[in-house]
């Protein structure tokens, strides 16, 4: 009896100490961040979603269905690849990539989308909507909608439909309707506004599959839980491959879903440092960037409190990044709290630094990363040089770069057989 009680207490104490169990609180707050700042019309839908999510979380049937999909459709577990030649550039550190780029649809986004699509079916809804920046989340949502026979509308900033024309075509091939958004800066932020407007109008029939760990509760927590598989798998893989935990885990951060996914597997391992690399655009000091934590301030955007890029009147400031997927003026509330609490470190990486790392990975490993991912790679090169040859660094390789071939070709000046400009390729 006594030992049972002690055991229960220990378990309860451990649960309290676990970051993932502790945050968010019941109202969706990560410290002072998160929460719900939405029109009253959406509250009931968010409550309904919250209930469906919590029921699914403890339902073995739901978990088995999702696991089966991941094994037979997504291609999980995704491998971990050691990058010897890339590691030489990164100060000789041992660098490992968690290969989310090898998932079906080419990025980590599918993890969350399959989970939310299953929930959509459970809630009896027939239509899904999504916002997308680079188009990876839009493609993933269109894919899941096709798989489950759901109507799908994807909102995408007009500017992004130009930057990511290939993904627009993919979404259309998959049967989704792509709506170019012409309001505001015509990028991800405005696509999210438009998706919210659609949702509040059609909430009876429609589920809004938010593509990142942002938005009103329960989205930040729910999206984390669907991406947690990245961290859980890679933690076991690293122990298997190296016999120990990595010294650092790195990821790029726009809204922050791939980063939260991999961080969540290591957040309770105090000796594992967590690094999030934000899009520094032309440099945070220029004002033309997308680094909400490094260069922003506390505010409310898209239904949650977090760090945002805003002026002194609280008007959202346009973000800038070569990466459409990171070109967002906010960040998920859990990242804000990880930053404030000191558990994770956030550093801005410029367009130039990211593209250099993009080139290095292509040439040293035969892997073309997404430009988003290249930000994490650039940060990892610096980190490896700091930590030295004994260090083990795990990078979330969140997506593949097929969609970015045109942007990269233009950057390196290799279109139409042009010579690369000095210092670029």
């Amino acid at each position: 009896m006594r030992t049972d009680i002690t055991g229960d207490l220990r378990e309860a104490t451990e649960a309290l100490q676990s970051w993932n169990a502790q945050f968010p609180d019941v109202a969706g707050h990560f410290g002072r961040y998160g929460g719900r700042f939405v029109p009253e019309a959406l509250i009931v839908a968010l409550d309904e979603l919250d209930a469906a999510f919590r029921a699914a979380k403890v339902d073995p049937e739901f978990q088995a269905e999702l696991a089966h999909l991941h094994a037979t459709y997504t291609g999980r577990p995704s491998p971990v690849t050691e990058c010897h030649r890339f590691g030489e550039v990164a100060g000789g550190a041992r660098v490992f990539l968690k290969r989310e780029d090898l998932n079906h649809t080419g990025s980590h986004k599918i993890n969350n989308v399959l989970g939310q699509a299953l929930l959509t079916v459970r809630m009896g809804k027939k239509r899904v909507i999504a916002e997308t920046g680079a188009g990876q989340h839009g493609v993933a949502t269109a894919t899941a909608a096709a798989l489950f026979g759901l109507e799908c509308v994807v909102y995408m900033g007009e500017e992004d439909t130009r930057r990511q024309a290939l993904n627009v075509a993919r979404m259309k091939l998959l049967g989704a309707q792509v709506v170019p958004v012409t309001a505001g800066s015509r990028t991800l932020k405005d696509a999210m506004n438009e998706a919210m407007r659609d949702w509040v109008t059609n909430v009876d029939s429609t589920h809004y599959i938010i593509g990142t760990v942002a938005g009103p509760a329960p989205f930040p927590e729910m999206v984390r839980e669907f991406h947690r598989i990245i961290g859980v798998e890679s933690r076991a893989q690293m122990l298997e491959l190296t016999g120990r935990l990595p010294d650092a885990v790195t990821a790029c951060v726009g809204g922050g879903s791939n980063a939260i996914g991999i961080f969540s597997g290591f957040v309770d391992d105090a000796d594992v440092k967590l690094y999030g690399f934000e899009a520094g655009g032309d440099g945070v000091e220029t004002g033309r960037h997308a680094s909400a934590i490094t260069g922003g301030s506390v505010g409310v955007l898209h239904g949650q409190r977090s760090y945002v890029l805003q002026d002194e009147d609280g008007q959202t400031v346009e973000s800038h990044s070569i990466s459409a997927g990171l070109d967002y003026p906010g960040v998920g509330p859990e990242h804000a709290w990880l930053a404030d609490s000191g558990r994770a470190t956030y550093i801005a990486v410029t367009d130039t630094e990211a593209m250099e790392a993009f080139r290095v990975l292509c040439r040293t490993e035969g892997i073309i990363p997404a430009i988003e991912t290249a930000h994490a790679l650039a940060g990892t090169i610096e980190l490896g040089r700091e930590l030295g040859p004994d260090a083990i660094i795990l990078v979330n390789c969140s997506g593949r770069g097929d969609k970015d071939v045109e942007t990269a070709s233009r950057w390196f000046g290799i279109m139409d057989g042009e010579r690369a400009p000095e210092g670029r390729a």
């Binding site: 700042f37 939405v38 029109p39 009253e40 019309a41 009931v44 932020k189 509040v200 909430v203 008007q315």
Partner: protein, 265 residues
């Protein structure tokens, strides 16, 4: 009794609904908006809502988006909004601000409540702030002696209506439909929502979203204490060839709506 309560009480004494008109500050210009709002009041609008332009207006359709976008591009600031409140309050009409939450939080919750009160404003409508996240705002609005207006929607459960009704002051804003501003029809859900809210509401209930004509105003006035019109006024300013014509058109619509809310059904 606050000016806002008085306006509802006066309307009630006349056996009619109060007419509430919305226009955003700084559109077409800061003085132009003041002129247009003054014309609304002179032509029968009882209560004024001044929109605080925000970069990400999630609850607004294309009409209001276009107007606030232009207002922001011209550089309208929160200071300009407070000046607009000061000018409009001089007309004697109870003057509220309608604002998304972030600008208020950024300005400073206590500072905003205090400065609004000092400018003669009587309250604030917060379309993306629900009572659950409003702890600081409830304290600040109480301290400044201004009303805080929360919303109920057709999707609100009785439990939600009870919570919102217990926290709203001044009036309860009943959003007539599931959607954004600028839809030109009042949904069937509106009378049912007002009916469900009645037992919980300790303050008058005003219906907004979808009202654009005198006919619709008259119909809503049969079951609500207040009728809110926004996008229809904004549309007139957007379409006007000159600012003067815009002001005249706003005045004309206000007069028609004022007749509407007085029509006994």
């Amino acid at each position: 009794m606050s000016k806002l309560h008085e306006a509802f009480a006066e309307a009630k004494a006349e056996n009619r609904a109060a007419l509430i008109g919305y226009l955003p500050a700084g559109f077409p210009t800061v003085p132009g908006a003041i002129d247009a709002i003054t014309a609304m009041v002179e032509n029968g609008v009882d209560i004024v809502e001044i929109g605080l332009p925000y970069s990400d207006p999630l609850m607004d359709g294309p009409t209001i988006q276009a107007a606030v976008d232009q207002s922001l591009r011209q550089g309208t600031t929160i200071r300009d909004v407070l000046e607009t409140v000061r000018a409009v309050a001089l007309t004697g009409a109870p003057t509220l601000v309608m604002s998304y939450w972030n600008p208020i939080e950024r300005f400073g919750v206590d500072a905003f409540a205090g400065e609004l009160a000092a400018a003669g404003g009587t309250g604030v409508i917060t379309p993306d702030l629900t009572p659950e996240e409003a702890g600081d705002w409830i304290a600040a609005s109480d301290a400044a002696g201004i009303d805080r207006v929360f919303l109920v929607a057709p999707s609100s459960t009785l439990g939600r209506i009870e919570i919102v009704s217990s926290m709203t002051t001044g009036f309860l804003y009943a959003a007539s439909l599931m959607g954004v501003t600028g839809v030109q029809s009042v949904s069937q859900a509106a009378p049912a929502l007002v009916e469900r809210s009645r037992p919980y509401a300790k303050v008058p209930i005003a219906v907004g979203l979808g009202v654009s004509t005198a006919e619709q105003a008259a119909q809503v006035a049969t079951y609500a204490d207040g009728v809110i019109v926004g996008s229809a006024f904004v549309r007139l300013l957007l379409d006007a060839a000159t600012p003067a014509q815009g002001v005249a058109a706003v005045g004309k619509l206000a007069a028609e709506l004022a007749v509407g809310v007085r029509r006994t059904a």
